[in-house]
Amino acid sequence: MVIETPVPFKGHLIVPPSQMVETTKSEIIDMFTQAYMMRRLEIAADVLYKGKFIRGFCHLYDGQEAVCVGMEAALNKQDAVVTSYRDHCIHLGRGGTPLEVMAELMGRVDGAAKGIGGSMHMYRREANFFGGNGIVGAQTAIGAGLGFAFKYNKQPNVAVTMYGDGAANQGQLFEALNMAALWDLPVIFMCENNHYGMGTAQDRSAKSPVYYKRGDYVPGLKVDGMDALAVKQAMKFAKEYCVAGNGPIVMEMDTYRYHGHSMSDPGSTYRTRDEITGIRQERDPVERLRKLITEHNLLDATQIKQIEKEQRRIVDEAVEQAKASPLPPNENLTKNMNTNLENIVVRGVDSQTFHALV
C-alpha cells in the first residue's frame, strides 16, 4: 500500500523524495508495536528512576520514537549506527532486548554492557550499533569513521550518526562533514531536532537553527520526525544516495522530547506545559501510527489492545527480570581493561592491592 505523508520534505541542494510512501500492513503494525514498546519502556524507566532502581543520568526518548522506528525500517543490521546518551530506544531498534536496556539502566549483569556502561553506553556490536556516547558531538566524527570503513571495505552500507540540535553546533561535526564530503563517505548525519539542548531552545544556541541546511555544501533533508513513515521514506532515500557513492547527507528530524533532558530536569522551566500538551495531542508519533492502523482498518480495536497488552507485558517482564538480575561479579571490575592483557596489571586503590585480570 501507499500512504501519503502529510508534511512535505524540504530539500537543501537536493530534490527530496516523494511524499507517497510504499509500505505494507505488517510494516505499519510492526512500527506501531515497536514504538509502543519504546514508549512503555521509557515510562517504566521513569518509574524505576523515581523508585531509585536507576541512578545517575537517565535520558528518555519518549516523543522521539518515530525517528528510531522509521530509521530502522529503512536500514539493515549491516548498516552502522552511533548515537548520543539518549540511546535506550536506539538499542532496541538495533535488535536489543528490553531486558538488556532495563538491566543496563539498573547496572546489572544482564545489561547491554553487562552493567558496566550504564544508561548512556549501550552497544550491540553484532548489529553494528556503536553506542551510546556521553560526549556531545563525539558521535559525529566516530560516525564518519564508521562510514569510512564501509567505503574502505567496499561494503554497500551506510553509517548513521544521530546527534541533537544542541550538538549541531559542535565544531567536530563540521570537521566530520567536510571529510565525509571530501572523501564521499556513506554517512547520514542525522540531527534529531527536539528543539532543546537541555534547557536551551534551539534559537538560543544556534544562529541558524535550520539544521538540514547546516551542512552548507552537503545536501540536506528536513523530515517530520514524528511520522515514522516519513522517516522511513527519507532514510531509504538517504541510504540509496550514500551507498551510490554520492557522499554524505544531512537529515533534520523534526521531533520532540516529552520528558525533561534527563531525570533531574523537570523539563518545564524553559517551555510551556501547553507546548508539550499541544504536541502530544497533535503530533504524537505512537498515536499517529495507531491512527494509521485504524484509518486503514489494518486491525480492529481489540487487536490493537492485544498488541499493547503484549508489549506492556514484555516491558513489565523485562523490568522484573532486570530487578532479579545480579550485580556484575566483583571480578568484572577489571575485566576488559585491554584486549591484549600481556603485562597488564591493574593497580587497586593502594600499593598493596593489585587486581587479577579476567
Partner: protein, 327 residues
C-alpha cells in the same frame, strides 16, 4: 552553609564588586546552572554578564581567553570538567602559556570552573579527575576546595587573581553543609593561593587530600584515633602552586604520610606528593609515602563496582594503620 551556596555567594559578590567579571557556559543563565551554582545570577546581573553558550567548549573557552586578553575577567563554567577536554588546548596553549610567551605583555585573568572527578552512577565518560593534568601545567594555578570556607575563599581568590585559574569542584559536595567561620562570610574573605591547611593536627601519620577526600581523611582520622593513631589531616586547597613547605613540615613531625585522591594513580596527585616529600624530607620518612587512588580503570557504572573503584574511608584507615606498622 552548603558548598553550593558558598560558591554561589562568592560568584555573586565578586560580580557585584567588579564589573569586568562575567560568567559563561552551558545553562548557566536561564536554567540557573546544571547544578544550580549560578542560581539567581542572571536575574541579578543580566544576560550580558551571565552568558548561556551553545555546546561548543573549544569555542567558548577560546572566546573567554580572548576576552581575558582584553582585560575582562571571565569565569568559564564547564558543565563538568570532563568536557574541558574539548577545550584543553585553549586552557593550556592560549591561557596558561601566553603571559610567558609574550614576555609579560598579555595576561589572561580567567577562571575555569566546574565539577571535577567522580560523581555517582554517571559512567566512564563523566567521572574523570583532571587534577593531575592541570597541575602539571606551568602558567596555571589549580585550586580544589573541600568545604564551604574553601569554596568561598578560594573562589574569590581565583576571580581576583590576575592569572588563569583552574577551579576544581566536586558535584557530590555541592549539597553538603559546613559550618562557616564568621570571617568567611565577609565579602573580603580571600584565601591565599598556594597554601594548604591543616584540618586536624596529629602526631603519628599525615593524611593528605584535596576536595571530597579531605572529608574521608577526617573520618578516617576519627576512626584511627580509636585505634590510638593520631593522624594529621592536610587539605591541599591549592594543587598548583603546591604547598611543599606544609607537606614537608608535617612529615618531619609524623614521619609517615598517606595521600588520597579519587583520580587514577599513574602520574597522579599522589605520585607528585609522594615524590616531593621524598625530595624534601626523605630522611624523616619511616615508611614509604603511600598513595591511595581510584582503581586504575575507567569508571564502571554498576553500583557495587563503582564503589570498589574508589577509595573508601576504610581504605584510608587500613593503609594508615599499615604505614604506622600497626597492621
Amino acid at each position: 552553609m552548603t558548598v553550593r551556596d558558598a560558591l554561589n555567594s562568592a560568584l555573586s559578590e565578586e560580580m557585584a564588586r567588579d564589573e569586568k567579571v562575567f560568567i559563561m557556559g552551558e545553562e548557566v543563565g536561564d536554567y540557573q546552572g546544571a547544578y544550580k551554582i549560578t542560581k539567581g545570577l542572571l536575574q541579578k546581573f543580566g544576560a550580558d554578564r551571565v552568558r548561556d553558550t551553545p555546546i561548543t567548549e573549544a569555542g567558548f573557552t577560546g572566546l573567554g581567553v580572548g576576552a581575558a586578553f582584553m582585560g575582562l575577567k571571565p569565569i568559564v563554567e564547564f558543565m563538568t570538567f570532563n568536557f574541558s577536554m574539548q577545550a584543553i588546548d585553549h586552557i593550556v596553549n592560549s591561557a596558561a602559556k601566553t603571559l610567558y610567551m609574550s614576555a609579560g605583555a598579555i595576561s589572561a585573568p580567567i577562571v575555569f570552573r566546574g565539577p571535577n572527578g567522580a560523581a555517582a552512577g554517571v559512567g566512564a565518560q563523566h567521572s574523570q579527575c583532571f587534577a593531575a593534568w592541570y597541575m602539571s601545567i606551568p602558567g596555571l594555578k589549580v585550586l580544589a576546595p573541600y568545604d564551604a570556607e574553601d569554596a568561598r575563599g578560594l573562589m574569590k581568590a581565583a576571580i581576583r587573581d590576575p592569572d588563569p585559574v583552574v577551579f576544581l569542584e566536586n558535584e557530590l559536595l555541592y549539597g553538603q553543609e559546613f559550618a562557616l567561620p564568621k570571617e568567611a562570610m565577609d565579602e573580603e574573605f580571600v584565601l591565599p593561593i598556594g597554601k594548604a591547611v591543616v584540618m586536624k593536627p596529629g602526631a603519628d601519620v599525615t593524611l593528605v587530600a584535596f576536595s571530597k577526600m579531605v572529608g574521608y581523611c577526617l573520618e578516617a582520622a576519627e576512626q584511627l584515633r580509636e585505634q590510638g593513631i593520631d593522624a594529621e589531616v592536610i587539605n591541599l586547597r591549592s594543587l598548583r602552586p603546591l604547598d611543599r613547605g606544609a607537606l614537608a613540615a608535617s612529615v618531619r613531625k609524623t614521619n609517615r604520610m598517606v595521600v588520597v585522591e579519587e583520580g587514577w594513580p599513574q602520574c597522579g596527585v599522589g605520585a607528585e606528593i609522594a615524590t616531593v616529600v621524598n625530595e624534601d624530607a626523605f630522611d624523616y620518612l619511616d615508611a614509604p609515602v603511600e598513595r591511595i587512588a581510584g582503581v586504575d580503570i575507567p569508571m564502571p557504572y554498576a553500583e557495587n563496582l563503582e564503589k570498589m573503584a574508589l577509595p573508601t574511608v576504610e581504605d584510608i584507615v587500613r593503609v594508615a594503620t599499615r604505614v604506622c606498622y600497626r597492621d
